[in-house]
Symmetry: C2
Subunit: 239 residues, 2 copies
DNA sequence: CGCGTGGTTGATCGGATTCAACATCGGTGG
DNA sequence: CCACCGATGTTGAATCCGATCAACCACGCG
Protein backbone atom coordinates (compact mmCIF):
# COMPACT_ATOMS: atom_id res chain seq x y z
CA UNK A 1 0.00 0.00 0.00
CA UNK A 2 0.86 3.64 -0.34
CA UNK A 3 2.56 4.47 2.95
CA UNK A 4 4.54 1.27 2.77
CA UNK A 5 5.97 2.30 -0.57
CA UNK A 6 7.00 5.64 0.92
CA UNK A 7 8.94 3.86 3.65
CA UNK A 8 10.89 1.83 1.11
CA UNK A 9 12.53 4.91 -0.36
CA UNK A 10 12.66 6.76 2.93
CA UNK A 11 16.06 8.53 3.07
CA UNK A 12 16.37 8.00 6.81
CA UNK A 13 15.07 4.44 6.85
CA UNK A 14 18.42 3.12 8.13
CA UNK A 15 18.73 5.46 11.12
CA UNK A 16 15.29 6.51 12.35
CA UNK A 17 13.24 5.03 15.18
CA UNK A 18 11.52 2.74 12.72
CA UNK A 19 14.77 1.12 11.58
CA UNK A 20 15.47 -2.21 13.17
CA UNK A 21 11.86 -2.77 14.13
CA UNK A 22 10.28 -6.12 13.43
CA UNK A 23 8.16 -5.98 10.31
CA UNK A 24 4.72 -6.14 11.99
CA UNK A 25 5.55 -3.01 14.03
CA UNK A 26 7.07 -1.22 11.08
CA UNK A 27 3.97 -1.92 9.05
CA UNK A 28 1.61 -0.85 11.80
CA UNK A 29 3.61 2.35 12.11
CA UNK A 30 3.60 3.04 8.39
CA UNK A 31 -0.17 2.58 8.38
CA UNK A 32 -0.69 5.48 10.81
CA UNK A 33 1.98 7.72 9.26
CA UNK A 34 1.43 10.70 7.02
CA UNK A 35 3.89 13.18 5.55
CA UNK A 36 3.64 16.85 6.24
CA UNK A 37 5.62 19.80 4.99
CA UNK A 38 6.40 23.02 6.85
CA UNK A 39 8.12 26.17 5.62
CA UNK A 40 11.09 27.64 7.51
CA UNK A 41 10.07 29.62 10.57
CA UNK A 42 6.79 27.78 11.11
CA UNK A 43 5.92 26.97 14.72
CA UNK A 44 5.31 23.23 15.03
CA UNK A 45 4.28 23.18 18.64
CA UNK A 46 3.72 25.96 21.14
CA UNK A 47 5.02 25.38 24.66
CA UNK A 48 2.43 24.29 27.25
CA UNK A 49 -0.18 23.58 24.62
CA UNK A 50 -1.32 20.10 23.96
CA UNK A 51 0.35 18.21 21.25
CA UNK A 52 -1.77 15.90 19.11
CA UNK A 53 0.97 14.27 17.06
CA UNK A 54 4.53 12.97 17.08
CA UNK A 55 6.92 12.95 14.14
CA UNK A 56 10.23 11.85 12.73
CA UNK A 57 12.14 14.39 10.67
CA UNK A 58 12.66 13.26 7.06
CA UNK A 59 14.56 16.34 5.97
CA UNK A 60 15.33 19.79 7.36
CA UNK A 61 16.12 21.00 10.88
CA UNK A 62 13.89 21.95 13.82
CA UNK A 63 14.75 23.79 17.02
CA UNK A 64 13.38 23.39 20.55
CA UNK A 65 13.29 26.77 22.24
CA UNK A 66 12.71 28.06 25.74
CA UNK A 67 11.70 31.71 25.76
CA UNK A 68 11.16 34.06 28.70
CA UNK A 69 8.73 36.99 28.77
CA UNK A 70 11.70 39.38 28.99
CA UNK A 71 12.92 38.17 25.61
CA UNK A 72 15.74 35.89 26.67
CA UNK A 73 15.85 32.78 24.52
CA UNK A 74 17.79 29.55 24.52
CA UNK A 75 17.67 26.78 21.95
CA UNK A 76 17.71 23.61 24.05
CA UNK A 77 17.65 21.12 21.21
CA UNK A 78 18.41 20.91 17.51
CA UNK A 79 16.61 18.09 15.74
CA UNK A 80 18.03 16.73 12.49
CA UNK A 81 16.78 14.17 9.97
CA UNK A 82 15.92 10.85 11.69
CA UNK A 83 15.35 12.63 15.02
CA UNK A 84 12.08 12.37 16.86
CA UNK A 85 9.74 15.28 17.66
CA UNK A 86 7.21 15.34 20.46
CA UNK A 87 6.92 14.54 24.15
CA UNK A 88 5.28 11.15 24.85
CA UNK A 89 3.43 10.65 28.16
CA UNK A 90 2.80 14.34 28.74
CA UNK A 91 -0.05 16.56 27.68
CA UNK A 92 2.35 19.23 26.46
CA UNK A 93 5.99 20.06 26.14
CA UNK A 94 7.74 22.79 28.11
CA UNK A 95 9.47 23.91 24.92
CA UNK A 96 8.40 25.42 21.64
CA UNK A 97 9.26 23.52 18.46
CA UNK A 98 9.93 25.50 15.31
CA UNK A 99 11.22 24.76 11.81
CA UNK A 100 14.54 26.52 11.15
CA UNK A 101 14.59 25.33 7.54
CA UNK A 102 11.96 23.96 5.25
CA UNK A 103 10.93 20.73 6.92
CA UNK A 104 9.47 17.41 5.85
CA UNK A 105 7.99 15.34 8.68
CA UNK A 106 6.66 11.83 8.95
CA UNK A 107 3.81 12.40 11.43
CA UNK A 108 1.90 10.02 13.70
CA UNK A 109 -1.35 10.79 15.53
CA UNK A 110 -0.70 10.90 19.26
CA UNK A 111 -3.20 8.25 20.34
CA UNK A 112 -2.37 5.71 17.64
CA UNK A 113 1.33 6.21 18.32
CA UNK A 114 0.99 5.68 22.07
CA UNK A 115 -1.13 2.59 21.44
CA UNK A 116 1.68 1.13 19.36
CA UNK A 117 4.16 1.93 22.12
CA UNK A 118 1.90 0.04 24.49
CA UNK A 119 1.46 -2.85 22.10
CA UNK A 120 5.01 -3.40 20.88
CA UNK A 121 7.72 -3.40 23.56
CA UNK A 122 10.53 -3.37 20.97
CA UNK A 123 9.14 -0.07 19.69
CA UNK A 124 9.19 1.40 23.18
CA UNK A 125 12.76 0.12 23.48
CA UNK A 126 13.76 1.96 20.32
CA UNK A 127 12.29 5.18 21.70
CA UNK A 128 14.10 4.62 25.01
CA UNK A 129 17.44 4.25 23.20
CA UNK A 130 16.78 7.39 21.21
CA UNK A 131 15.86 9.30 24.36
CA UNK A 132 18.98 8.13 26.20
CA UNK A 133 21.09 9.35 23.26
CA UNK A 134 19.32 12.71 23.33
CA UNK A 135 19.99 12.96 27.06
CA UNK A 136 23.71 12.30 26.52
CA UNK A 137 23.82 14.97 23.84
CA UNK A 138 21.96 17.46 26.03
CA UNK A 139 24.46 16.86 28.84
CA UNK A 140 27.41 17.26 26.50
CA UNK A 141 25.96 20.56 25.38
CA UNK A 142 25.62 21.65 29.04
CA UNK A 143 29.40 21.52 29.21
CA UNK A 144 29.60 23.70 26.11
CA UNK A 145 27.27 26.29 27.64
CA UNK A 146 28.85 26.24 31.08
CA UNK A 147 32.56 26.06 30.38
CA UNK A 148 33.63 26.82 26.82
CA UNK A 149 34.80 30.16 25.41
CA UNK A 150 32.90 31.88 22.61
CA UNK A 151 35.30 30.54 20.00
CA UNK A 152 35.14 26.98 21.30
CA UNK A 153 31.34 27.18 21.37
CA UNK A 154 31.21 28.40 17.78
CA UNK A 155 33.52 25.56 16.70
CA UNK A 156 31.40 23.06 18.65
CA UNK A 157 28.22 24.13 16.88
CA UNK A 158 29.78 24.07 13.42
CA UNK A 159 31.24 20.64 14.12
CA UNK A 160 27.90 19.35 15.39
CA UNK A 161 26.09 20.60 12.31
CA UNK A 162 28.76 19.22 10.00
CA UNK A 163 28.48 15.80 11.63
CA UNK A 164 24.71 15.65 11.73
CA UNK A 165 23.88 17.37 8.46
CA UNK A 166 26.67 17.03 5.95
CA UNK A 167 28.07 13.68 6.97
CA UNK A 168 24.86 12.08 8.17
CA UNK A 169 25.13 8.34 8.31
CA UNK A 170 28.71 8.15 7.17
CA UNK A 171 31.32 6.58 9.36
CA UNK A 172 34.14 8.30 11.25
CA UNK A 173 35.25 11.54 9.66
CA UNK A 174 38.61 11.58 7.96
CA UNK A 175 40.84 14.45 9.01
CA UNK A 176 41.18 15.81 5.51
CA UNK A 177 37.76 15.22 4.00
CA UNK A 178 36.38 18.31 2.32
CA UNK A 179 32.90 19.15 3.60
CA UNK A 180 30.54 21.85 2.41
CA UNK A 181 27.11 22.60 3.79
CA UNK A 182 24.55 25.35 4.28
CA UNK A 183 23.93 26.51 7.82
CA UNK A 184 20.37 25.64 8.88
CA UNK A 185 20.39 28.55 11.35
CA UNK A 186 20.55 32.33 11.24
CA UNK A 187 23.19 34.18 13.26
CA UNK A 188 20.64 34.91 15.97
CA UNK A 189 19.61 31.25 16.13
CA UNK A 190 23.24 30.18 16.44
CA UNK A 191 23.60 32.71 19.27
CA UNK A 192 20.52 31.21 20.95
CA UNK A 193 22.13 27.77 20.72
CA UNK A 194 25.38 28.96 22.21
CA UNK A 195 24.25 31.34 24.94
CA UNK A 196 25.90 34.26 23.11
CA UNK A 197 24.75 37.38 21.23
CA UNK A 198 24.47 37.48 17.45
CA UNK A 199 27.24 40.07 17.33
CA UNK A 200 29.62 37.69 19.08
CA UNK A 201 28.65 34.87 16.72
CA UNK A 202 29.46 37.12 13.77
CA UNK A 203 32.84 38.08 15.24
CA UNK A 204 33.83 34.50 16.09
CA UNK A 205 32.85 33.33 12.63
CA UNK A 206 35.14 35.98 11.16
CA UNK A 207 37.93 34.94 13.52
CA UNK A 208 37.58 31.30 12.42
CA UNK A 209 37.65 32.40 8.78
CA UNK A 210 40.73 34.59 9.30
CA UNK A 211 42.63 31.81 11.04
CA UNK A 212 41.76 29.44 8.19
CA UNK A 213 39.74 26.98 10.24
CA UNK A 214 36.71 27.48 8.00
CA UNK A 215 35.90 29.12 4.70
CA UNK A 216 32.56 30.65 3.75
CA UNK A 217 30.55 31.45 0.64
CA UNK A 218 27.66 33.85 0.96
CA UNK A 219 26.04 34.09 4.38
CA UNK A 220 25.03 30.52 4.88
CA UNK A 221 27.57 28.24 3.22
CA UNK A 222 30.43 26.80 5.26
CA UNK A 223 33.38 24.99 3.70
CA UNK A 224 35.61 22.81 5.84
CA UNK A 225 38.85 21.55 4.46
CA UNK A 226 40.33 20.46 7.79
CA UNK A 227 37.56 18.99 9.88
CA UNK A 228 40.19 17.86 12.39
CA UNK A 229 41.25 21.44 13.22
CA UNK A 230 37.64 22.38 13.91
CA UNK A 231 37.12 19.31 16.08
CA UNK A 232 40.23 20.08 18.14
CA UNK A 233 38.97 23.61 18.73
CA UNK A 234 35.52 22.31 19.67
CA UNK A 235 37.05 19.83 22.10
CA UNK A 236 39.19 22.58 23.69
CA UNK A 237 42.52 21.13 22.54
CA UNK A 238 44.44 24.13 21.30
CA UNK A 239 46.66 23.01 18.36
CA UNK B 1 12.38 -12.94 51.85
CA UNK B 2 15.00 -10.47 52.91
CA UNK B 3 15.12 -8.04 50.00
CA UNK B 4 11.35 -7.94 49.84
CA UNK B 5 11.20 -6.77 53.42
CA UNK B 6 13.66 -4.00 52.59
CA UNK B 7 11.38 -2.79 49.79
CA UNK B 8 8.41 -2.54 52.16
CA UNK B 9 10.07 0.14 54.26
CA UNK B 10 11.89 1.72 51.34
CA UNK B 11 11.69 5.49 51.83
CA UNK B 12 11.43 6.13 48.09
CA UNK B 13 9.04 3.31 47.32
CA UNK B 14 6.35 5.73 46.17
CA UNK B 15 8.48 7.64 43.67
CA UNK B 16 11.25 5.43 42.30
CA UNK B 17 11.30 3.41 39.08
CA UNK B 18 9.98 0.41 40.95
CA UNK B 19 6.84 2.19 42.10
CA UNK B 20 3.79 1.42 40.05
CA UNK B 21 5.25 -1.78 38.68
CA UNK B 22 3.12 -4.89 38.67
CA UNK B 23 4.01 -7.16 41.55
CA UNK B 24 5.80 -9.90 39.54
CA UNK B 25 8.24 -7.31 38.13
CA UNK B 26 8.70 -5.61 41.48
CA UNK B 27 9.49 -8.96 43.04
CA UNK B 28 11.89 -9.99 40.30
CA UNK B 29 13.62 -6.66 40.74
CA UNK B 30 13.84 -6.96 44.50
CA UNK B 31 15.39 -10.40 44.07
CA UNK B 32 18.37 -9.02 42.11
CA UNK B 33 18.76 -5.89 44.27
CA UNK B 34 21.36 -5.27 46.94
CA UNK B 35 22.08 -2.20 49.03
CA UNK B 36 25.43 -0.52 48.93
CA UNK B 37 26.82 2.41 50.86
CA UNK B 38 29.36 4.97 49.65
CA UNK B 39 31.05 7.79 51.56
CA UNK B 40 30.98 11.36 50.23
CA UNK B 41 33.49 11.95 47.47
CA UNK B 42 33.63 8.34 46.32
CA UNK B 43 33.75 7.81 42.56
CA UNK B 44 30.90 5.52 41.57
CA UNK B 45 31.73 5.22 37.91
CA UNK B 46 34.63 6.52 35.87
CA UNK B 47 33.82 7.94 32.44
CA UNK B 48 34.48 5.64 29.47
CA UNK B 49 34.95 2.60 31.68
CA UNK B 50 32.47 -0.16 31.63
CA UNK B 51 29.74 -0.13 34.14
CA UNK B 52 28.64 -3.44 35.64
CA UNK B 53 25.65 -2.23 37.62
CA UNK B 54 22.73 0.19 37.74
CA UNK B 55 21.19 1.71 40.84
CA UNK B 56 18.43 3.77 42.35
CA UNK B 57 19.44 6.30 44.98
CA UNK B 58 17.85 5.59 48.37
CA UNK B 59 19.40 8.55 50.16
CA UNK B 60 22.08 11.12 49.44
CA UNK B 61 23.07 12.99 46.29
CA UNK B 62 25.32 12.04 43.35
CA UNK B 63 26.77 14.21 40.60
CA UNK B 64 27.48 13.43 36.95
CA UNK B 65 30.59 15.28 35.86
CA UNK B 66 32.31 16.00 32.58
CA UNK B 67 35.96 16.93 33.06
CA UNK B 68 38.53 18.10 30.52
CA UNK B 69 42.28 17.45 30.72
CA UNK B 70 42.85 21.19 31.19
CA UNK B 71 40.85 21.08 34.42
CA UNK B 72 37.56 22.58 33.28
CA UNK B 73 34.64 20.79 34.88
CA UNK B 74 30.89 20.89 34.52
CA UNK B 75 28.33 19.00 36.56
CA UNK B 76 25.80 17.84 33.97
CA UNK B 77 23.43 16.10 36.33
CA UNK B 78 22.49 16.03 39.99
CA UNK B 79 20.82 12.80 41.07
CA UNK B 80 18.61 12.81 44.15
CA UNK B 81 16.81 10.06 46.07
CA UNK B 82 14.58 7.99 43.73
CA UNK B 83 16.73 8.94 40.71
CA UNK B 84 18.33 6.31 38.55
CA UNK B 85 22.10 5.87 38.04
CA UNK B 86 23.73 4.20 35.06
CA UNK B 87 23.53 4.17 31.28
CA UNK B 88 21.55 1.23 29.86
CA UNK B 89 22.38 -0.02 26.37
CA UNK B 90 25.92 1.33 26.35
CA UNK B 91 29.16 -0.21 27.51
CA UNK B 92 30.10 2.93 29.38
CA UNK B 93 28.92 6.42 30.18
CA UNK B 94 30.58 9.59 28.90
CA UNK B 95 30.32 11.07 32.38
CA UNK B 96 31.84 10.35 35.74
CA UNK B 97 29.47 9.62 38.62
CA UNK B 98 30.51 10.63 42.12
CA UNK B 99 28.88 10.79 45.53
CA UNK B 100 28.62 14.37 46.80
CA UNK B 101 27.24 13.23 50.15
CA UNK B 102 27.18 9.93 51.91
CA UNK B 103 25.10 7.74 49.63
CA UNK B 104 22.89 4.68 49.97
CA UNK B 105 22.16 2.88 46.69
CA UNK B 106 19.85 0.06 45.71
CA UNK B 107 22.04 -1.68 43.11
CA UNK B 108 21.21 -4.09 40.30
CA UNK B 109 23.70 -6.19 38.32
CA UNK B 110 23.83 -4.95 34.74
CA UNK B 111 22.96 -8.21 33.00
CA UNK B 112 20.09 -9.18 35.28
CA UNK B 113 18.68 -5.66 35.07
CA UNK B 114 18.78 -5.58 31.26
CA UNK B 115 17.16 -9.01 31.16
CA UNK B 116 14.27 -7.70 33.23
CA UNK B 117 13.96 -4.70 30.90
CA UNK B 118 13.72 -7.16 28.02
CA UNK B 119 11.26 -9.36 29.85
CA UNK B 120 8.87 -6.77 31.30
CA UNK B 121 7.73 -4.02 28.94
CA UNK B 122 6.09 -2.04 31.73
CA UNK B 123 9.49 -1.83 33.41
CA UNK B 124 11.06 -0.48 30.25
CA UNK B 125 8.20 1.99 30.07
CA UNK B 126 8.94 3.22 33.58
CA UNK B 127 12.58 3.78 32.63
CA UNK B 128 11.49 5.61 29.48
CA UNK B 129 9.31 7.98 31.49
CA UNK B 130 12.13 8.63 33.93
CA UNK B 131 14.55 9.30 31.06
CA UNK B 132 12.12 11.71 29.38
CA UNK B 133 11.81 13.62 32.66
CA UNK B 134 15.60 13.77 32.99
CA UNK B 135 15.82 15.09 29.43
CA UNK B 136 13.32 17.85 30.22
CA UNK B 137 15.29 18.80 33.32
CA UNK B 138 18.57 18.80 31.40
CA UNK B 139 17.06 21.11 28.79
CA UNK B 140 15.68 23.44 31.44
CA UNK B 141 19.15 23.63 32.94
CA UNK B 142 20.60 24.49 29.52
CA UNK B 143 18.59 27.69 29.69
CA UNK B 144 20.04 28.40 33.12
CA UNK B 145 23.60 27.94 31.83
CA UNK B 146 23.08 29.83 28.59
CA UNK B 147 20.99 32.81 29.60
CA UNK B 148 20.75 33.50 33.34
CA UNK B 149 22.87 35.89 35.39
CA UNK B 150 25.04 34.65 38.25
CA UNK B 151 22.42 35.60 40.82
CA UNK B 152 19.58 33.95 38.90
CA UNK B 153 21.68 30.80 38.52
CA UNK B 154 22.44 30.68 42.23
CA UNK B 155 18.75 31.09 43.02
CA UNK B 156 17.87 28.38 40.49
CA UNK B 157 20.22 25.89 42.10
CA UNK B 158 19.03 26.61 45.62
CA UNK B 159 15.43 26.32 44.49
CA UNK B 160 16.15 23.03 42.70
CA UNK B 161 17.82 21.57 45.77
CA UNK B 162 15.05 22.79 48.06
CA UNK B 163 12.43 21.16 45.83
CA UNK B 164 14.22 17.88 45.36
CA UNK B 165 15.79 17.46 48.76
CA UNK B 166 13.84 19.24 51.45
CA UNK B 167 10.37 18.99 50.00
CA UNK B 168 10.74 15.66 48.25
CA UNK B 169 7.42 14.08 47.45
CA UNK B 170 5.31 16.84 48.91
CA UNK B 171 2.88 18.70 46.73
CA UNK B 172 3.08 22.26 45.48
CA UNK B 173 5.14 24.54 47.69
CA UNK B 174 3.31 27.15 49.66
CA UNK B 175 4.73 30.63 49.34
CA UNK B 176 5.37 30.98 53.01
CA UNK B 177 6.44 27.53 54.07
CA UNK B 178 9.63 27.58 56.12
CA UNK B 179 12.25 25.23 54.70
CA UNK B 180 15.63 24.32 56.10
CA UNK B 181 18.16 21.98 54.56
CA UNK B 182 21.87 21.21 54.29
CA UNK B 183 23.53 21.83 50.96
CA UNK B 184 24.68 18.54 49.44
CA UNK B 185 27.41 20.40 47.53
CA UNK B 186 30.57 22.37 48.32
CA UNK B 187 31.01 25.87 46.91
CA UNK B 188 33.20 24.49 44.13
CA UNK B 189 30.61 21.87 43.24
CA UNK B 190 27.88 24.49 43.10
CA UNK B 191 30.14 26.51 40.79
CA UNK B 192 30.58 23.43 38.58
CA UNK B 193 26.79 23.09 38.36
CA UNK B 194 26.33 26.71 37.41
CA UNK B 195 29.21 27.37 35.07
CA UNK B 196 30.69 29.88 37.53
CA UNK B 197 33.75 30.09 39.80
CA UNK B 198 33.59 29.25 43.50
CA UNK B 199 34.40 32.88 44.31
CA UNK B 200 31.32 34.06 42.43
CA UNK B 201 29.17 31.44 44.17
CA UNK B 202 30.41 32.74 47.51
CA UNK B 203 29.65 36.34 46.56
CA UNK B 204 26.17 35.59 45.21
CA UNK B 205 25.29 33.62 48.34
CA UNK B 206 26.30 36.62 50.43
CA UNK B 207 24.22 38.89 48.18
CA UNK B 208 21.16 36.64 48.60
CA UNK B 209 21.71 36.62 52.35
CA UNK B 210 22.08 40.41 52.52
CA UNK B 211 18.91 40.97 50.52
CA UNK B 212 17.03 38.61 52.82
CA UNK B 213 16.15 36.01 50.19
CA UNK B 214 17.89 33.29 52.18
CA UNK B 215 19.36 32.83 55.63
CA UNK B 216 22.26 30.57 56.50
CA UNK B 217 23.66 28.70 59.49
CA UNK B 218 27.23 27.45 59.33
CA UNK B 219 28.59 26.77 55.88
CA UNK B 220 26.10 24.24 54.66
CA UNK B 221 22.69 25.02 56.14
CA UNK B 222 20.21 27.12 54.16
CA UNK B 223 17.01 28.50 55.65
CA UNK B 224 14.24 29.70 53.39
CA UNK B 225 11.37 31.64 54.84
CA UNK B 226 10.02 32.94 51.53
CA UNK B 227 10.38 30.20 48.97
CA UNK B 228 8.36 32.33 46.56
CA UNK B 229 10.95 35.11 46.46
CA UNK B 230 13.65 32.60 45.61
CA UNK B 231 11.50 31.04 42.90
CA UNK B 232 10.79 34.42 41.34
CA UNK B 233 14.50 35.16 41.23
CA UNK B 234 15.24 31.75 39.75
CA UNK B 235 12.60 32.26 37.09
CA UNK B 236 14.00 35.67 36.20
CA UNK B 237 10.97 37.63 37.43
CA UNK B 238 12.46 40.53 39.32
CA UNK B 239 10.06 41.40 42.20
C1' DC C 1 49.44 23.51 68.23
C1' DG C 2 50.32 23.67 63.34
C1' DC C 3 48.66 22.41 59.14
C1' DG C 4 45.57 21.76 55.18
C1' DT C 5 41.29 22.28 53.07
C1' DG C 6 37.41 24.95 52.11
C1' DG C 7 35.42 29.42 52.17
C1' DT C 8 35.39 34.57 52.05
C1' DT C 9 36.68 39.03 50.48
C1' DG C 10 39.09 42.61 47.80
C1' DA C 11 41.50 44.54 43.58
C1' DT C 12 42.22 44.13 38.96
C1' DC C 13 41.54 42.29 34.43
C1' DG C 14 39.42 40.69 30.28
C1' DG C 15 35.97 38.47 27.31
C1' DA C 16 31.55 39.04 25.91
C1' DT C 17 27.70 42.33 25.93
C1' DT C 18 25.71 46.53 24.74
C1' DC C 19 24.92 50.31 21.94
C1' DA C 20 25.35 52.35 17.63
C1' DA C 21 26.40 52.82 12.86
C1' DC C 22 26.80 50.83 8.61
C1' DA C 23 26.67 47.01 4.91
C1' DT C 24 24.42 43.43 2.33
C1' DC C 25 20.84 40.71 0.66
C1' DG C 26 16.20 39.63 -1.11
C1' DG C 27 12.02 41.06 -2.33
C1' DT C 28 8.43 44.47 -4.03
C1' DG C 29 6.44 47.75 -6.69
C1' DG C 30 6.84 52.06 -9.35
C1' DC D 1 15.16 47.75 -14.45
C1' DC D 2 16.39 49.67 -10.48
C1' DA D 3 15.06 52.42 -6.38
C1' DC D 4 13.48 51.53 -2.05
C1' DC D 5 12.72 48.99 2.11
C1' DG D 6 13.06 45.78 5.88
C1' DA D 7 15.45 41.97 7.61
C1' DT D 8 19.77 40.10 8.42
C1' DG D 9 24.53 40.52 9.16
C1' DT D 10 28.98 43.06 10.18
C1' DT D 11 31.97 46.12 12.53
C1' DG D 12 33.62 49.44 16.04
C1' DA D 13 33.77 51.63 20.77
C1' DA D 14 32.44 51.69 25.40
C1' DT D 15 30.83 49.17 29.24
C1' DC D 16 30.17 45.63 32.58
C1' DC D 17 29.80 41.16 34.69
C1' DG D 18 32.16 37.50 36.19
C1' DA D 19 37.03 35.60 36.11
C1' DT D 20 41.45 35.84 37.92
C1' DC D 21 44.85 36.64 41.27
C1' DA D 22 45.97 37.21 45.91
C1' DA D 23 45.36 37.64 50.76
C1' DC D 24 43.05 36.26 54.61
C1' DC D 25 39.81 33.59 57.61
C1' DA D 26 37.54 29.46 59.86
C1' DC D 27 37.18 25.13 60.83
C1' DG D 28 38.54 20.13 61.50
C1' DC D 29 42.09 16.98 62.48
C1' DG D 30 46.46 14.61 63.49
Amino acid sequence: MKTRRYCDNCPIRDRALCSGLSSPVAEALSRIAHFKHFPAGQVLQRSHQDLSWFAVIISGVAKLVKTLPDGRQQIVGLQFPADFLGRPFAVSSAFRAEATTSLLLCCFPKDAFENLLQQYPCFEGALLRHTLDQLDMARDWMFTLGRKTAQERMASLLFLIAERLARSGKQKASEEERIEFDLPLSRTEMADCLGLTHETVSRELRELRETGVIATRGRRTIILSHLGTLERLADCRQP
